[in-house]
Amino acid sequence: MTTDPQPVAASGASPETERLLARIRAGEKGCFLELIQPYARSIYLVANSILKNREDAEEVAQETVFRAFQRLDQLRDIGSLKSWLLQIAVNEARQRLRHRQRHPCVSLDEEFGDEAQVMPRQLADWREIPSVTLERKETREHLRRALERLPPHYRQVFLLRDVQHLAEKEAAQVLGVSASTVKMRLHRARLQLREDLAPVFRKRWKDRLSALWSKS
């Protein structure tokens, strides 16, 4: 097995990226880590959105980086490095999931129906959310758990589109589904997450009243 990648087209790449690619070509394999560093976090989060297991997601991330290095010659456009890496991560994670479930014939795309319409029931205003609230461990835990409670395909689409900010077409390509499927799943993921998190972020009138009373 070779671990020496062929050069990738560097058209449109930043001077920094071109410099890194040149060094990788020259055999400085460690430079590949610098090239993918901006996306290392995304790789883990995408793997975890499929596996919902930290150890597995981390192993998949490690596998993804190594595979990407081996297949660097298959990357045609350095501008799509992020979605290319995430596509490898999705494939590696799905492979691991199949292995874990030992049900290779189960379709990963049909675990639940996509037909149900989501209608909002939580109709309270959300308060303005200061960054200090988001820095709290408790809030982050709420956000992480809410994401984990989403059905797998909603979660994966939401993560790629609204957390990783991939374009609709890129997310569709990474997941191997149509753009209209991405659009529909994203819509439902957003509504469901909003519904789920409403009790956490809604205006707490009772809290405000107690604060007023405690001052008097």
Binding site: K29, L45, L123, Q164, H187, R194
Partner: protein
């Protein structure tokens, strides 16, 4: 006047700026007169702002270092 169901169905496209201009105007007319749909739109936008901050979801402590160590060990074989 379009219904609340219609507005909710189109909410994501509206937020992403994908609705056609005529539908967009109809949604905006509806939102001016419907507090419930306005609240859903506003809270959905806040949701996207919260999750759009990439640091909100954490990676395990030591993840980057282990990634580096694993990679360097494999390519040096």
């Amino acid at each position: 006047m379009i219904s609340c169901e219609h507005v909710i169905h189109e909410l994501s496209s509206y937020i992403d700026g994908d609705s056609d201009p005529e539908l967009r105007q109809a949604i905006e007319r509806h939102l001016r007169g419907c507090r419930r749909c306005s609240v859903v739109l506003d809270s959905t936008r806040k949701l996207l702002l919260i999750y759009g901050d990439e640091d909100v979801l954490e990676v395990p402590a030591g993840y980057f270092e282990r990634l580096r160590t694993s990679f360097l060990a494999r390519v040096s074989r």
